[in-house]
């Protein structure tokens, strides 16, 4: 037995260690473990008590309202601030002040502001698994299209993260439009054949089906060689039948391709210096969002002139004379001599013929700024004794206006029969 003692000892030791392990387990097993499954039940309430670190977008908006407004309007409206800037709890506590702020350093409170290429591509890299209507790029193709040789160029050199595509219409207010398909939603590459040439192919609605005139005019202009309708008219699918479409004529949207930047090729696509392209003086209001279309709409497709606003500042009628004396060539960039003579000739404009009295209300309603180039703002008031055209809601309170100003004011334009149509 003596010679087996060491064997007994080591097995006793093993048994002892196992017993110690069992006792240790009883002592160290976390409270509430196994009450409702293979986990610590108390962990649930502990997690519930944890402070929320990710800040809500409305919290950010309290201080950064300008950015919030841009963000809410544009394509990134559904991306919360924390996705790019981090949780932000320390940032908020620090700037709110109070006792808790004292323990936070400025460095801790600072939010990351660097937008890495990979950060953007995490959502926008071209992947077949993404919904086809989701904006996504093959980086190489995208840069090649824009003639940007350096693939390390950051997205923010062109796109503002808060307003990536400079939409004119707020995303949630954009027009509902029937579904617009792209060939690449089903095909790997855009087929060379039209679907009409393929027997049995499902019918696809194309832009041309509803907007033939615009598509025809687009196909006659230079842009059609390089871009398609949806390049500018961004389409956001909302369900299987409809989505929202954007009439993006924002100057900054045009500048995404056409602004000169050191990292872009100089020749293609055609580029301009911005904002010097529109002059260094205040001849054109640079805040006008559709400023490019004022002169270059004909490079895209036929457009309703209504979308074009007067690009000049409000005091331009009185100040343009001095400007034209010195820099007439700048004016001639957009205007012909006929434009000058339309106001400055002693004769009336051709449009002001014998029918003009009848026609001017509808023209004035649409082109008030054009009238104001010659006529003073109160010109309407001189004849009509009312601000014209009738403001919104006039129909509801016209009875009071007629009582106050007298029925004769109405009769300047309307006949007695006009009242009888309703009364």
């Amino acid at each position: 037995m003596r010679d087996r003692k060491h064997i007994v000892t080591i097995f006793s030791l093993i048994v002892f260690v196992i017993i110690i392990g069992v006792i240790a387990r009883l002592i160290l097993k976390p409270d509430s473990f196994g009450e409702h499954g293979q986990y610590r039940w108390n962990a649930v309430s502990e997690l519930q008590k944890q402070e929320i670190v990710n800040q809500n977008i409305s919290t950010c908006a309290k201080c950064h309202d300008d950015i919030y407004q841009l963000h809410e309007k544009d394509a990134h409206f559904s991306v919360p601030c924390v996705d790019c800037h981090g949780a932000g709890n320390l940032h908020v506590l620090f700037h709110e002040g109070g006792d808790s702020a004292k323990q936070i350093t400025k460095e801790q409170a600072a939010l990351p502001k660097e937008y890495k290429l990979e950060g953007c591509l995490f959502c926008h890299k071209k992947l077949k698994a993404r919904p086809s209507d989701f904006p996504q790029i093959n980086q190489e193709d995208h840069y090649k299209f824009l003639n940007v040789p350096d693939l390390k160029t950051k997205c923010i050199e062109c796109h503002s993260p808060h307003q990536p595509v400079f939409m004119l219409t707020a995303v949630r207010e954009a027009r509902i439009h029937p579904i617009v398909y792209r060939c690449t939603e089903c095909h790997d590459k855009k087929p060379e054949q039209s679907f009409k040439e393929v027997a049995g192919h499902p019918a696809i609605f194309e832009c041309n089906d509803c907007h033939p005139k615009i598509v025809k005019s687009f196909n006659e202009r230079p842009h059609h060689k390089y871009i398609e309708c949806r390049t500018c008219h961004l389409y956001h699918k909302e369900n299987e039948t409809t989505g929202r479409i954007y009439k993006n004529g924002n100057a900054r949207f045009c500048l995404l391709c056409h602004e000169k930047k050191p990292f872009k090729d100089e020749n293609y696509p055609p580029k301009i210096e911005w904002p010097s392209h529109v002059g260094n003086s205040n001849i054109i209001t640079k805040s006008d969002e559709k400023i490019c279309l004022n002169c270059h709409a004909d490079r895209i497709h036929d457009m309703d002139v209504k979308i074009r606003a007067n690009p000049h500042s409000s005091d331009w009628v009185s100040t343009h004379k001095n400007f034209a004396k010195v820099q007439l060539t700048v004016c001639q960039g957009c205007h012909t001599s006929n434009d000058c003579s339309s106001c400055h000739s002693k004769t009336k404009p051709v449009s002001h013929n014998q029918n003009w009295r009848k026609q001017h209300p509808s023209f004035g309603a649409k082109n008030q700024s054009t009238c104001e180039m010659c006529h003073k703002k109160d010109a309407c008031m001189n004849c009509h004794k009312l601000s014209m055209p009738h403001p919104k809601g006039f129909e509801d309170n016209h009875k009071e206006v007629a009582t106050q100003k007298g029925k004769a004011v109405c009769m300047n334009c309307h006949k007695e029969e006009f009242c009888k149509q309703c009364h």
């Binding site: 003596r2 010679d3 087996r4 003692k5 060491h6 064997i7 000892t9 080591i10 030791l13 093993i14 392990g21 240790a24 387990r25 160290l28 097993k29 976390p30 473990f33 196994g34 293979q38 990979e118 591509l121 995490f122 959502c123 890299k125 992947l127 077949k128 698994a129 993404r130």
Partner: protein, 385 residues
Amino acid sequence: MDTLSNYIFPNEFHITWTVMIVLYPYITGMVAGAFIVSSFYHVFNMEKLKTVARFALVSSLAFLLFATVPLLNHLGRPERAFYIMMTPNFSSAMSGFGFIYSFYMIIVVLEIWLSYRVEIIDKYNKSNGIVKFIYLVVLLGNANDNENTRRFDKRLVIALASFGIPVACILHGYVGFLFGSIKANPWWSTPLMFIIFIFSAIVSGLAVLIFLYQFVHWMRKRSIDQDCLDLMAKWLWGFMIIAVTLELMEVLSISYENTERWAILRQLIDGKLKLSYVYLQIGLFSIVPFIMLTITSLSKMKNTKVKNLTIWIASVMLLLQVLFMRWNVVIGGQLVSKSMRGFTEYFPGLWDKEGLIVSFLIILVPFVLLYLFDKVFPFFGEKSH
């Protein structure tokens, strides 16, 4: 991100199980393989393997001690590993590994303790002071050594080794089972997986022993026990044939079934894994060592230096074969998108937490441990100067 191809879901940009999970079955395989080699001597009385029996056993322990390190590094909170013991979940496949690992550790430590007891008593008798005390603690206060104790120890070692073989197979088969039972992964989900893992484990165990045995003897300029080496080479040849055949049979089986998964797996083998699987694992590191070991095993090579060098190179190549096999299984399986229509991409960074340098260090540490053990208890007798 540049080489993602076809239909990939956004959450598949980065794979979850990195090179650390490649190392984990690789090291575990060497544990099981080395132990089985030691059992050839202890249980099956292959006297020719006596030279490497204890070396194999200690190698097994050295690798065993570090088998979980890649996992702990990967998970990032090593202290939580003890929760497997504190809050055991007997229905979890992962925690099952923890129990088998612990049980196997007891067997190996016990076997080594009994195998080295005579040497420890000898060191105890020759040492003084604190060192003597340490030896006494290791001996559990009992330095009794005679014919009877040696006989009892030997019997117990045989019993433990016999018991250890199935446990070693379960340990490594279990790692294969973890992959093979993941039915959502078309590249892993096969009942053959754990059998392949066991055989590749024996191959890697034999290969690492041949590699180290020759390497140590060349460094020390000592003569090699040719019979022992030849036998190990023959076993290596035999087991590698089975392992590689099983690996190919698995692919053949998937290919012949021609179910929907083959469409993507064919692209995987012919695309992302073409280099690591077709050219390296099968082409270079399976066929070439097979030819080399066939020659050394079947022909009567008179030039033992050339023969031994051939065996050594074959063992290194087979070590790499098994490493590539682990890589192709673990990483290859994750490269396939759950859409079954696309692939992601992965290659570890050099200095990453789970990168190449860390991987190399984790692989290196068991060898350093073996070196230190050899300093105290030389595996192949005292050094000749």
